[in-house]
């Protein structure tokens, strides 16, 4: 029904472990976008959310 406001260190660790696992999978899936955005950053120093979206839309 509900969750505790205060989490235990074990719950914290589990939450982080799940998040890291999810992000790792996501980064593998989005590898092409990662490459394109890092290339963009090397050329332009900064990237805005709009530019990120354009790159992601072009790939997917």
């Amino acid at each position: 029904m509900s969750e505790n406001f205060i989490v235990t260190p074990e719950q914290e660790e589990e939450l982080l472990r799940e998040s890291v696992s999810e992000i790792t999978t996501l980064l593998k899936t989005l590898e092409k976008a990662l490459y394109e955005i890092s290339t963009y950053l090397l050329a332009h120093e900064n990237i805005t959310p709009e530019e990120c979206r354009v790159i992601l839309r072009r790939i997917f």
């Binding site: 992000i23 593998k28 890092s38 990237i47 805005t48």
Partner: protein, 134 residues
């Protein structure tokens, strides 16, 4: 935009903005060019110059990972650069668990990047960002 800049900083800002516009293939410098290089002049210039090419590539991949995840999970950010990350602060006082988790995930790529990433020029390792395995 330039509050606190001395004349030397203004000079550098103008030069950097002009170089940026030229890189983009334009002959006119726009306000956006100044915005794009402001951080570099304010706090990042020395840092960028002190990066080796390999360190710069690693930093670009690390920041790109943040940008990819933030965009994918709809975490708002102003811009992400090689030397800094500008996430937008949330105006709501109450955030859902999902929103908090997404914000957390957008700064997690440091421990999630694949072990080997190959850029166009040179293969390299990003192990320095990885948590050591126990």
């Amino acid at each position: 935009m330039t509050v606190g800049f001395n004349s030397a900083a203004l000079d550098t800002l103008t030069n950097e903005a002009a170089i940026y516009a030229m890189r983009e293939g334009r002959t006119v410098v726009e306000t956006a060019d100044f915005e794009a290089v402001k951080e570099k002049v304010l706090l990042g210039k020395r840092k960028i110059l002190s990066f080796t090419d390999e360190e710069r590539e690693i930093q670009a991949i690390y920041q790109a990972a943040k940008a990819v995840i933030a965009t994918w999970l709809d975490v708002e950010f102003e811009k992400i650069g090689i030397v800094n990350t500008r996430l937008l602060s949330q105006e709501h006082e109450i955030l859902s668990k999902t929103q908090l988790l997404h914000a957390l995930k957008s700064i997690l790529p440091a421990v999630s990047l694949p072990r080997h990433i190959t850029m166009s020029s040179s293969p390299m390792r990003v192990w320095i960002f990885l948590k050591p395995k126990n």
